[in-house]
């Protein structure tokens, strides 16, 4: 059996599993639609309620010419990404509970392809959600300076954040084996991480230190750099690349490192759960 054949089999396994999870989402689109609805509400409500206050804060922080809805967009994209990514562990726990996990393990499919396929389907759903949110934001006055290329970059950064929280959610799922726990974890992670970052308003001095250790800070500022077309990174100062890259490069680097660490833990736990073991 040649290397190409193995690769083909793996690719087929990946596609098969991506199809399964996409089909499930199509049959049962509630979670998918709720995530879009929540993002829409956030976009509309936050800009309506905090618009004036936000405007003042932006002026003080030197973003005087930026509309609040434009400033808000990266925050809402992060929120939608995290919300969707956290449901990854839910699917896993449901599979563990219904026996579908074991049933999949006992097939000749490659375990790596099984999980990669599921992740691919989940990332694809996040992309669709983000595109809807970006479209809505632009429709109500947000402005993306870097255009279509920028939107692609924004999606890529969101997917990095998505992968990170999918890994977190799977780790929680494998340890707790309980959907309720993942639900609780979603709330526990999302709110502090969003508010202890420059997501909604520019960072105050009080939380700057905390925000430095918050992955969402890097996600939100990298996206914001692409939305505004300028270097916006506040927590660390980088000036080797010039312009947008001064924010995007270090932020993506940090997100990649975090993905490597949490991803390795998730993969280890998944491998342990799916390999034949001495119980």
């Amino acid at each position: 059996m040649s290397v190409t054949e193995t690769a083909n089999t793996r690719l087929r396994d990946l596609r098969v599993n991506a199809e399964r999870w996409t089909r499930k989402a199509v049959h049962n689109p509630t979670a998918f639609l709720v995530e879009i609805a929540v993002a829409t509400l956030s976009l509309v409500l936050f800009s309506a309620v905090f618009g004036d206050v936000g405007g003042l804060a932006l002026e003080r922080a030197g973003f005087g010419d930026v509309a609040y809805v434009t400033y808000l967009l990266p925050a809402v994209l992060m929120q939608a990404t995290m919300g969707s990514a956290f449901s990854s562990g839910m699917g896993l726990v449901r599979d563990l509970e219904t026996g579908m996990f074991e049933k999949t393990v006992v097939t000749p499919m490659s375990a790596t392809a099984v999980f990669a396929g599921k992740a691919a389907a989940e990332l694809a759903q996040i992309v669709v959600q983000l595109l809807v949110v970006v479209g809505l934001a632009v429709a109500i006055g947000a402005n993306i300076e870097t255009g279509v290329i920028g939107v692609l970059g924004i999606l890529a950064i969101c997917l990095l954040v998505g992968l990170l929280f999918m890994a977190v959610s799977n780790v929680v799922g494998l340890l707790a084996r309980d959907e309720e726990v993942i639900n609780a974890a979603t709330m526990l992670f999302m709110f502090p991480l969003l508010f202890l970052s420059p997501a909604f308003i520019p960072l105050s001095d009080d939380i700057e230190l905390v925000a430095t250790f918050n992955p969402i800070t890097y996600g939100v500022e990298a996206v914001r750099a692409l939305v505004l077309g300028e270097d916006v990174l506040t927590v660390v100062s980088v000036s080797w690349f010039g312009g947008v890259a001064d924010t995007v490069v270090p932020a993506v680097g940090i997100l990649l490192v975090l993905n490597g660490i949490v991803g390795a833990i998730a993969i280890r736990l998944l491998a342990r759960a799916s390999s034949a073991s001495v119980a």
Binding site: M1, E5, T6, N8, T9, R12, D13, V16, E19, R20, R23, K24, H27, N28, T98, G99, M100, E102, K103, T104, V105, V106, T107, P108, M109, A276, S277, V278, A279
Partner: protein
């Protein structure tokens, strides 16, 4: 049963089926499948070959101890035992979901450790708990299984249609499986285990929790699968189920095989048919119980009752277990009438597998620790000395000889099944 010939006929077809279904799977892990020179022919005729399998869980529970077992191709094999006996552990080792602590296990000629992917491609596995995706329709569940086992695209439509017909789900093929009843879900689960036309199917307590009608339909379905040449390895707590379906049985308790044979053969080990006489002697003796004992003595003295027969008593009845117990009836009834013992009921029954199980279990009944209701009843009812004779015979005939060592076995450890 005609499975001998079926098995030989199927051998060649099965071999090509493995390869034909999905060539890249069988040798996917690149292991050498021709490693053995000796016994190769025998191996290919055996669906399952377990040699001295033991599995000890991390918590020290010895779930399976020194089990040796082989199942020829085409057989409908039953693995019978109470909760926690080690049935599921064994089936999970065979399905590559658990690694043996020691011993060698081959499935369809492939080693479960070294040729895991080849084993997985050649078996169907139906777990104890219904495992279907409730968010997908019946057809989509089958389609996913086809994808997972690499069923060639051209064959899928017919294969899925055939299976849907076989399990009577054709009219609800496009309904989400979440809307199905328990029995329908089980049937769909069974169908998904068969999309790749495997040589061997594992069914782990497939009818647990089903109503009798649903159970009967599943039985019918399993018989059809087996008639088509597929080897079936079924575990069950239901003796009736094993009796109905299986060509051959192994009885497992506390991780050890305690008996092995065809259902009829096992029934014979109980010592024959059972003649049950209900007697009412309350007006003659102080208690019904006493009068039963008196009647039993009369029965024992009857010339027609051979010494090899066993005579037991319950509160209001006498149970005589003997070859051709029915023929004893007239003599016994006459003897009781002469002694003025009124007989209120008379029944001759063939031994059921329950009786077989009780005979085996009775050997160490005092060690039983509430494994199942059936066994519990046995322990209390059959702990009497009378039963020991029948049990001796049974254990003497077991092939594994495990029963003799049973006293050393830790009893009722609550093994995770």
């Amino acid at each position: 049963m005609a499975h001998e010939s079926v098995a030989t006929d199927e051998t060649d077809i099965d071999e090509t089926d493995i390869d034909g279904t999905d060539p890249e799977r069988t040798d996917a892990d690149g292991t050498d499948t021709d490693g053995t020179t000796e016994g190769q022919v025998t191996d290919s005729e055996r669906a399952i070959d377990i040699d001295a399998l033991s599995l000890t869980y991390a918590d020290g529970t010895r779930a399976v101890q020194n089990v040796t077992l082989s199942v020829p191709q085409g057989e409908f094999f039953g693995f019978l035992g109470p909760n926690g006996a080690g049935k599921t552990t064994t089936i999970k080792v065979l399905a590559t979901l658990l690694e043996p602590t020691s011993g060698a296990v081959e499935v369809n000629g492939f080693d479960v450790l070294r040729e895991r992917t080849a084993v997985r491609a050649s078996i169907g596995y139906m777990a104890q708990e219904t495992s279907i995706d409730t968010e997908l329709t019946a057809r989509e569940n089958l389609m996913f299984a086809c994808d997972a086992y690499g069923v060639p695209r051209g064959e899928r439509a017919t294969r899925i249609a055939d299976l849907l017909n076989l399990v009577d789900l054709a009219d609800v093929a496009d309904t989400p499986a979440g809307n199905f009843s328990g029995g329908m879900k089980k049937r769909l689960d069974a169908a998904t285990a068969l999309v790749h036309d495997p040589d061997l199917v594992f069914l782990d307590e497939p009818t647990t929790g089903l109503d009798p009608q649903a159970r009967n339909r599943l039985w019918e379905y399993f018989r059809r699968i087996n008639a088509g040449g597929t080897t079936v390895f079924l575990t069950t707590q239901y003796l009736e189920e094993a009796d109905h379906l299986c060509d051959r049985l192994a009885v497992i308790r506390d991780g050890r095989i305690v008996a092995d044979g065809a259902p009829d053969e096992l029934k014979r080990r109980v010592g024959g048919d059972i003649l049950e006489l209900e007697v009412d002697g309350t007006d003659r003796a102080e208690s019904a119980c006493e009068s039963v004992e008196v009647a039993a003595d009369i029965v024992r003295d009857t010339a027609a009752v051979e010494p090899s027969a066993t005579v037991e008593t319950t509160d209001d009845a006498i149970r005589i277990t003997a070859r051709d117990a029915g023929d004893l009836g007239p003599d016994v009834l006459l003897a009781l009438r002469d002694a003025d013992v009124p007989v209120t009921g008379f029944d001759v029954t063939e031994p059921t597998l329950d009786d077989v199980f009780l005979a085996i279990a009775g050997d160490s009944a005092d060690g039983l620790d509430g494994t199942t209701e059936a066994v519990d009843a046995a322990a209390t009812e059959e702990a009497s000395g009378e039963d020991a004779a029948a049990t001796e015979q049974t254990s003497g005939a077991t092939e594994t000889g495990a029963t003799e060592e049973d006293d050393n076995v830790v009893q009722g450890t609550g093994v995770e099944a």
